[in-house]
């Protein structure tokens, strides 16, 4: 353990647990806005409620005057909830203005969070947003008309990519863009996706694919390293012998690729290796899987290109 928390984080947590005056633990009865994020199974959950001073004629001029939270989670999850409520109350925001509070603001308020704990601040921002949507519904405010990006129930709808934390493709895609996430580690730190079993990291349609599709990385990589034409007259002297290359390919398949496929009940067989083309046959569950061809390209070819030779290509054999 021994996370490196800032003094601010520690102090907010301690004050909250001791229920000191000025802290925000609790739940507002009949709130003007309520938002929840997370679940107990995932290890943290937050229920955020707020009350506004209602403007007699224009709901857009409502001002948030009180904010409360109930949080299941670790030191930083509780401190982030405390920070969120404190910021909201201090700012005398209208709900629409409060939408501008992002997770980075919570991190700043806490004088920083360990990277593995960034998701605690994201949880706060998500719950706030949900609560404001709830307020809009109650007050008959049309957020779309105001140009607020209403998210189409994305967490409930769509293919689940990270099964451990139940996070869907549209949600992860939005977060990749919104938070500028460029690596799997960054995704995990921010929204926890991929942080447990790690199965969704490199599977087809997994986190790496979503990253590549967002930032176009794989395309760039291919453009940067076009297949160099073989020199006329065959391979130069310095090339490793076909025997060495074949052994290396076998090793990469055995060590990097096969265990991953076997994990999903599949397997892979090298049929032949000839002129930089590796002929492979998928077996087991992978053979009947619709994504088999894609898996082949993505997983096998990437591994072989990275670890053996950039020029290698993979062709599926059935």
């Amino acid at each position: 353990m021994a996370w490196e928390y800032s003094d601010k984080t520690r102090a907010l947590f301690m004050d909250a647990v001791q229920g000191k005056p000025g802290t925000h633990m609790g739940e507002i009865d009949d709130p003007d806005g309520i938002g929840e994020h997370g679940s107990i199974a995932c290890g943290d959950a937050l229920r955020f409620t707020f009350r506004v001073e209602r403007h007699p004629t224009d709901p857009l001029k409502d001002v948030i005057i009180e904010a409360r939270y109930l949080t299941y989670g670790c030191t930083s999850a509780i401190a982030a909830s405390e920070a969120l409520c404190a910021m909201i109350e201090a700012g005398h925001y209208t709900p629409i203005d409060a939408l501008k509070i992002k997770n980075e603001d919570i991190v700043t308020y806490l004088d920083g969070l360990p990277v593995q704990k960034i998701h605690c601040s994201v949880m706060g921002a998500e719950a706030l947003q949900a609560a404001i949507f709830n307020w809009a519904q109650k007050r008959g405010v049309d957020l779309e008309q105001l140009g607020v990006d209403i998210l189409p129930e994305e967490k409930e709808e769509g293919r689940v990519v990270c099964k451990c934390f139940g996070l869907t493709e549209p949600y992860i895609r939005r977060k990749i863009k919104e938070l500028g996430l460029h690596s799997i580690a960054q995704i995990t730190n921010a929204i926890k996706a991929g942080g447990a079993c790690t199965n969704c990291h490199h599977t087809p349609g997994g986190l790496q694919d979503l990253l590549d599709e967002t930032w176009g990385r794989s395309e760039t990589r291919l453009k940067e390293s076009p297949e160099p034409p073989l020199p006329p007259g065959g391979v130069p002297d310095a090339e490793p012998s076909p025997y060495v290359v074949a052994k290396r390919i076998e090793q990469v398949i055995d060590e990097d690729v096969r265990p991953m496929l076997q994990h999903d009940g599949g397997d892979i067989e090298i049929v032949d290796i000839k002129d930089n083309i590796v002929y492979c046959r998928m077996a087991g569950a992978c053979a009947t899987c619709a994504a088999a061809d894609k898996t082949m390209k993505l997983v096998v070819e990437t591994a072989l290109k990275d670890k053996v030779d950039e020029r290698l290509r993979v062709i599926a054999v059935t």
Binding site: M1, W3, R10, F13, M14, A16, V17, Q18, G19, M25, E27, E36, I40, A41, G43, D44, A45, L46, R47, Y69, L70, T71, Y72, G73, C74, T75, A77, I78, C164, F165, T188, K192, G195, A196, C197, D254, E255, P259, Q262
Partner: protein, 422 residues
């Protein structure tokens, strides 16, 4: 504020007797035991005397069956990889889902290297089913590695019996046990009850010796190859200049632990049982993990429903109480303890585990203090929890429903034998 150290399964205080024995080797007796001159004989003798002491106390037939290592992690690596090197024809390993990472991750590494590995599940009480072990045995099984006592829950596996079953099935299979948590706490007799154990790992710093020293028992005749090479030390089975002061300290530590083992075990059990009774009495909705299985006398693992472990540790720390947790937030991963998950601890409690582990230096007054402070910490954190109704000091209705669904056996997330079973 006096420190209450209740994390002795993580590490222990170095005993003053151990420090005393080590001191000369950190001062004037610094010689390399392999050197030829007279002063070096003293250091060489110290190592051999330590070996004889520990071998005798653990019932080894020969002192040479004990190899000194840098700790239990090295011993476990050496046991598993060394067994694989010596038996190239065998490609299958059996271990359990609840091993310490020093075995679990070695087994996973072997899996990546092409070995077939079976991870045996445990039941809700933390126990293994010997039928699962028998079913997993194969003609090409190389090694069975089953821990003696679990570091998180203290649950003790019947390794003497399991080793016998394995060796009677096929004497060529090696049986390894990680006894890091049990040496000094449980009876061990490698010539008697544990005669079927081929390889046994242990560590110094769990029994009041310093960190960085441990041992590996390799039964004479067991097919095993060295893991660390590069020198003739330890009869060429573990290269590297002997860590003389630590080895001398280790022997005294084992001696101290075993000299008063029964009295000490009774003391530890009285502390643990008292704390367990008080916490169960004072905290609603608490699970005592491993309660219904044989357990180490010093370990208490509780899981508190509807709050998370890391926050509890921070609060305990503020009261000067050192404990640990299996919650996701205290691990490197985002997953809670693999041991508690394998035991199917309900999801409403699996993030809320706290482990108290005691040593001979703990007192009943400390237990009373923990029992006074901890329930209050739990109550305060529960006031912050969206699942808890503080007014009634009970779960909210929707949380109660969760509790009921969590109590029935989980689907999916439960333990299962992994790997490439035939």
């Amino acid at each position: 504020m006096d420190l209450i150290y209740a994390d002795n399964n993580a590490t222990t205080a170095v005993a003053p007797e151990v420090r005393e024995v080590m001191a000369p080797y950190l001062a004037d007796d610094y010689f390399n035991p392999s050197s030829m001159y007279e002063p070096a004989r003293r250091t060489g003798h110290a190592v051999e005397a330590a070996r004889a002491t520990i071998a005798g106390l653990l019932g080894m037939g020969e002192a040479s069956e004990l190899i000194f290592t840098g700790g239990a992690t090295e011993s476990n690596n050496a046991a598993l990889f060394g067994a694989a090197r010596a038996n190239p024809g065998r490609r299958h390993v059996i271990t359990t889902a609840v091993e310490h990472p020093a075995v679990l991750e070695v087994a996973e590494e072997m899996e990546r290297q092409g070995f077939a590995v079976d991870f045996l599940p445990v039941d809700r009480r933390g126990r293994l089913d010997v039928k699962d072990l028998i079913r997993a045995l194969r003609p090409d099984t190389l090694l069975v590695s089953i821990m003696h006592a679990n570091n998180e829950t203290g649950v003790v596996f019947p390794v003497a019996e399991l080793a016998r079953v394995v060796k009677e099935t096929d004497p060529a299979i090696l049986f390894h046990t990680d006894a890091t948590q049990s040496v000094g706490k449980l009876p061990l007799d490698l010539s008697g009850e544990h005669v079927h154990v081929d390889l046994l790992s242990f560590s110094g710093h769990k029994l009041h010796a310093p960190k960085g020293v441990g041992g590996l028992f390799v039964r004479q005749g067991a097919r095993w190859r060295p893991f660390l090479v590069g020198g003739h030390q330890e009869a060429s089975r573990r290269a590297g200049t002997e860590n003389v002061p630590y080895i001398a300290g280790l022997a005294v530590a084992v001696e101290l632990a075993l000299r008063d083992r029964e009295a000490e075990a009774a003391h530890l059990a009285s502390l643990r049982d008292r704390l367990e009774a008080l916490l169960v009495e004072r905290i609603p909705h608490v699970e005592v993990n491993g309660r219904e299985a044989p357990r180490l006398p010093n370990t208490l693992n509780v899981a508190i429903h509807f709050i998370e472990g890391e926050g509890m540790l921070y609060q305990l720390d503020a009261f000067g109480i050192c404990a640990s947790s299996g919650s996701a937030c205290t691990s490197g991963s985002l997953e809670p303890s693999h041991v508690l998950r394998a035991m199917q601890v309900p999801f409403t409690a699996v993030h809320g585990s706290v482990r108290f582990s005691f040593s001979r230096y703990n007192t009943m007054a400390e237990i009373e203090r923990i029992a006074e402070v901890f329930p209050e910490i739990v109550a305060r954190l529960r006031r912050l929890s969206p699942y808890w109704d503080s007014e009634r000091n009970a779960p909210r209705p929707e949380a109660l429903a969760m509790l009921e669904s969590a109590a029935s056996p989980a689907e999916g997330g439960g333990p299962s034998a992994r790997g490439n079973s035939a």
